[in-house]
């Protein structure tokens, strides 16, 4: 059993509850023990840095300090949390004066950060620690050629962490394929979904979402999978607004990669939070079922 400090992030408990639920239920069958950091708080999220950089780093560093004490690698399933925590960490080890300043603030809460923490995204852990080969060996319901568009979003690969290519990443593709599904050619797989601009610039973002949906469908995807809560929310919850704005008829399920893994591991859809997805994943479930029947399982 591999042990990790776990930082779920706020989305996994709210808008992306499906992510939080599915991570929890797939961990055990994949021999991962995710130990939630006690007393974790908001990571500061991406926009905070442009309001007050120092404060935003302190907010992130508080969580880093808590995780550092535990002595395990810190894993988060949220791309935005990952970027925020990772950037704060890099900033702090690159700038000792900033580190001292931040530690002065943390001292008030009796905390300190020393920079001895490895911050990792769950997708990277699944790819490199657990490995697609091992996941494949635990698959109970192979996905039998389900056509999946692997959508990385921007934050999983940018800035350059050195774990995957920024323009044409591969790790999510491998995870999709190890489940017996087919990762379709998806040239926009690392493009922006619009992020938090859905709130301030909705019409622009709907254009971006449309491009992604269109590109996935053009390459015959039956669903999109992503590890990112924000990407999932935009593509899933705003699909109907795209349809009404552009007079289109998209009905493309958008799953978390952890939900897809869960399905292949034989976990029931409610435990994976699939009932919380807005575009019904019914077509995906139906396909899997029909394939099972065909193969006489």
């Amino acid at each position: 059993m591999k042990q990790y400090s776990y930082y779920p992030g706020c989305s996994a408990e709210a808008t992306a509850i499906g992510l939080g639920l599915s991570v929890e239920v797939i961990a055990k069958p994949l021999d991962m023990e995710l130990i939630e950091i006690e007393g974790w708080t908001c990571c500061g999220s991406t926009p905070y840095g442009s309001v007050d950089e120092l404060e935003s780093i302190v907010v992130a560093a508080r969580n880093l300090a808590l995780a550092e004490k535990a002595g395990l690698d810190l894993v988060t399933p949220c791309s935005s949390c990952f970027v925020t925590l990772y950037r704060a960490h890099i900033h702090l080890i690159d700038h000792p004066r900033l580190m001292a300043q931040v530690n002065q603030a943390l001292a008030v809460a009796g905390l300190a950060y020393h920079g001895n923490l490895r911050i990792r995204h769950l997708t990277e852990v699944l790819s490199n620690d657990i490995t697609p080969e091992v996941i494949a060996s635990k698959v109970k319901r192979p996905l039998n050629g389900l056509k999946v568009a692997p959508y990385y979003g921007c934050q999983l690969v940018r800035p350059r962490y050195g774990t995957d290519d920024t323009e044409f990443p591969q790790s999510l593709d491998r995870l999709v394929e190890c489940l017996g599904a087919e990762a379709v050619y998806f040239p926009l797989k690392a493009r922006c979904c619009g992020g938090a601009l859905t709130i301030s610039e909705e019409s622009r973002v709907l254009g971006l979402i449309r491009k992604l949906l269109d590109n996935a469908l053009e390459n015959s995807a039956q669903c999109i999978v992503t590890p990112c809560p924000l990407c999932q929310t935009n593509l899933d919850a705003y699909q109907s607004r795209v349809n009404s704005k552009f007079k289109t008829h998209y009905n493309l399920p958008v799953l978390f990669i952890t939900q897809l893994i869960g399905l292949a591991l034989g976990i029931d859809s409610t435990s994976l939070g699939l009932n919380t997805n807005i575009v019904s994943p019914g077509i995906v479930l139906e396909y899997i079922l029909r394939q099972e029947v065909k193969s006489g399982a």
């Binding site: 323009e167 040239p187 491009k211």
Partner: protein, 652 residues
């Protein structure tokens, strides 16, 4: 003989005297052990300054000299010569650097004067123990090896051979000509590349003093300046060069086709082939890897049709051993492969081509006879040229490839000449630095090419508007207008970087050349010794040293030839006397010194089981002295006694 030392402190105008109290230094030196006379003078390196030293040597019977002035790399040779002319061995001279190491870097006068005194004291203590050394001379073999048959190698070989000296020109491919033979026109004059190159190639092929070894590789180099021994592998061509008339019937009859390297993969060649019609030598070779006979055991079509019986399937590789006095390495460059830059779509999207592919596409002798065609055979109406692909990019090559701006603008001109297409140049900065280059830039501007400042983010075939359907769309930031824009075009040319040959590391080890951080071969001095390398007798020219255009390449190749001819004309070379020497009675044959020597100057004597320094190769760096666990190695002119004395002197 009791040391009689003269100490001379230089003012160097105000360079030294402005910070150091030279009179005080002179007074101090006068009282040091063994010092007979101490003087100071405005410019020691001047004629009167040197005369001062010579006069004292003669009149006061000095047998050691210390000059406290600038860096020894500046004037050590000057003062050594002065000593020699006055009759004392040049190695009985020592220099104290009180300018770069003292006056220039110290503000406080008192502090500077004290440091100058310490440096002078150190030099005096050291020179006390100096011993006379003799420089040796070795003869220069007048033959030369040139490695690489591109324009650099051709130029260097011709210059040397024209003076009546033998040149071995080695080229790995079946013909000389290199990249220049593939190019269409040359900037900024637009003369045809092949037209100016092929006469030179023909001259090489028929030159009585050039032995042309194509389809050959250098395997081993030993020896030292003036006296290299080189092993060359002549790969089997399976064609008897003495019988072949170059009629070409074998190439017509050969049934197997593969991608042509010369056509940058845009065209096909036969398996028995010359790379291009003007190849020198005009004798085909059989590409063994793809030959049907070598794969399946039958065919031999070429043999059946060859009227003179020149095909010889039994031919074997040959090893040729030659002796040369100097080597010029001109192994050129490789064009950057843009496939890893996923967002530009090369290899994924039709009609995205590299600059070298475009050279062939626009070349009247190329696969389309010079017609600029899209993949579907139609004519492009608009073409985008993206500069700096793989250059000026931290992900790939940080350096500027120097030729891309110019050849990209040449492309714009050629496109306008051949078609009615609109041309868009996407640039970061335009670097038109050479003679006539800025004028060429202005000419291209006036021809109506659109220049857009901004490096495109991507090239995509995903349309967003009806106008974009079926086009390649360039997404970019126009940094002058401050706008994000999209431009639909029919063809995209990627102006790819020039990078070191993939086997540059191997070549560097073979010839004992260093490489700079970018992977290109390193010259001895970036300004004052641009074609020499750290290995005496080995020179570099052309793009193997760094990206450059044809005029610069030719100039460098001529410079390398001049260096070689100067050596040949002198006939001998002086070898540094300050070399390492191994005490064979102490050497335990561990061979640790062999590993640390950066010049491969140490050999192991198998019979006596001792290591021995080749004085001709030794540069006196001292790495082996430190590396020897038995303390068996001493470096002449840097003996332990001398170094310790110098340190003790500095501590007064």
């Amino acid at each position: 003989m009791e040391p009689r030392i003269g100490v001379y402190t230089c003012h160097c105008g105000s360079n030294i005297a402005g910070t150091v109290d030279v009179a005080e230094v002179t007074r101090f030196a006068q009282d040091l052990d063994g010092v007979v006379i101490a003087r100071d003078y405005k410019f020691m390196c001047s004629d009167p300054g040197q005369k001062l030293i010579k006069k004292d040597i003669k009149e006061l019977g000095l047998n050691r000299v210390v000059v406290a002035s600038c860096s020894p790399t500046m004037h050590e040779p000057t003062f050594r010569r002065a000593c020699q002319e006055a009759g004392i061995n040049p190695y009985l001279f020592e220099m104290a650097n009180i300018r770069e190491h003292c006056s220039w870097v110290t503000e406080d006068k008192q502090e500077a004067t004290e440091k100058a005194k310490a440096l002078v004291s150190a030099a005096v203590s050291r020179v006390y123990y100096h011993e006379p050394l003799e420089t040796r001379e070795v003869p220069i073999n007048p033959n030369t090896l040139v490695v690489g048959g591109g324009i650099a190698g051709i130029q260097a070989a011709l210059k040397i051979a024209d003076s009546g000296h033998k040149v071995y020109l080695v080229e790995t491919s079946p013909s000389i000509g290199g990249h220049m033979a593939q190019l269409d026109k040359t900037f900024p004059t637009l003369d045809c590349s092949a037209c100016i190159l092929t006469p030179k190639m023909t001259l090489v092929g028929s030159h009585p003093y050039i032995e042309l070894l194509t389809y050959s590789e250098v395997e081993e180099v030993s020896g030292y300046i003036g006296n290299f021994k080189v092993k060359i592998r002549k790969k089997a061509k399976y064609v008897d060069a003495d019988k072949c008339t170059g009629c070409g019937i074998c190439q017509i009859k050969c049934p197997a086709k593969v991608d042509s390297e010369f056509e940058a993969g845009l065209g096909k060649r036969k398996v028995i082939y010359t790379p291009f019609p003007q190849a020198v030598p005009n004798i085909p070779v059989i590409d063994r890897e793809h030959c049907i006979y070598f794969i399946k055991g039958k065919c031999r079509a070429c043999e059946k049709f060859c009227e003179v019986g020149a095909i010889d399937f039994e031919q074997q590789d040959e090893i040729l051993e030659v002796e040369v006095g100097s080597i010029i390495v001109t192994t050129g460059f490789e064009v950057f492969d843009p496939t890893p830059i996923y967002q530009y779509g090369y290899g994924r999207l039709d009609n995205v081509v590299t600059s070298l592919e475009f050279e062939r596409l626009v070349n009247s002798a190329g696969p389309t006879d010079g017609e600029i065609l899209l993949k579907d055979g139609s004519h492009p109406e608009s073409i985008a040229i993206i500069h700096c692909v793989g250059s000026r990019d931290e992900q790939y090559h940080e350096y500027c490839s120097r030729v891309c701006c110019m050849y990209s603008m040449k492309f714009a001109h050629l496109i306008k000449e051949h078609t009615d297409a609109e041309v868009y140049e996407f640039y970061i900065d335009i670097r038109s630095f050479g003679k006539g280059y800025e004028e060429f830039y202005n000419r291209i501007l006036s021809e109506g090419t659109t220049f857009i400042r901004g490096k495109p983010a991507e090239v995509t075939n995903i349309a967003e508007t009806p106008e974009e359907k079926g086009k390649l769309v360039v997404q970019f930031e126009d940094t002058l207008a401050g706008l994000q824009r999209r431009l639909p075009v029919d063809m995209v040319i990627l102006s790819c970087a020039l990078e070191p040959q993939p086997d540059a590391g191997k070549t560097a080890r073979l010839f004992n050349i260093n490489r700079s951080a970018d992977g290109f071969f390193l010259e001895k001095h970036p300004k004052l010794d641009p074609v020499a390398t750290m290995t005496d007798g080995v020179f570099i020219a052309g793009c193997c040293q760094g990206p450059k255009d044809i005029p610069d390449t030719v100039a460098q190749a001529s410079a390398a030839a001049a260096e070689v001819l100067a050596m040949i004309s002198k006939g001998k070379v002086e070898i540094e006397a300050a070399t390492a020497i191994i005490d064979e009675s102490i050497c335990t044959s561990c061979q640790a010194c062999l590993l640390v020597c950066p010049y491969s100057a140490i050999d192991f004597d198998e019979e006596k089981k001792v290591c021995r320094v080749n004085e001709a190769l030794c540069k006196g760096c001292g790495a082996c002295v430190g590396g020897c666990p038995s303390d068996a190695i001493n470096l002449k002119h840097y003996t332990n006694e001398q170094i310790v004395a110098q340190m003790e002197g500095a501590l007064v």
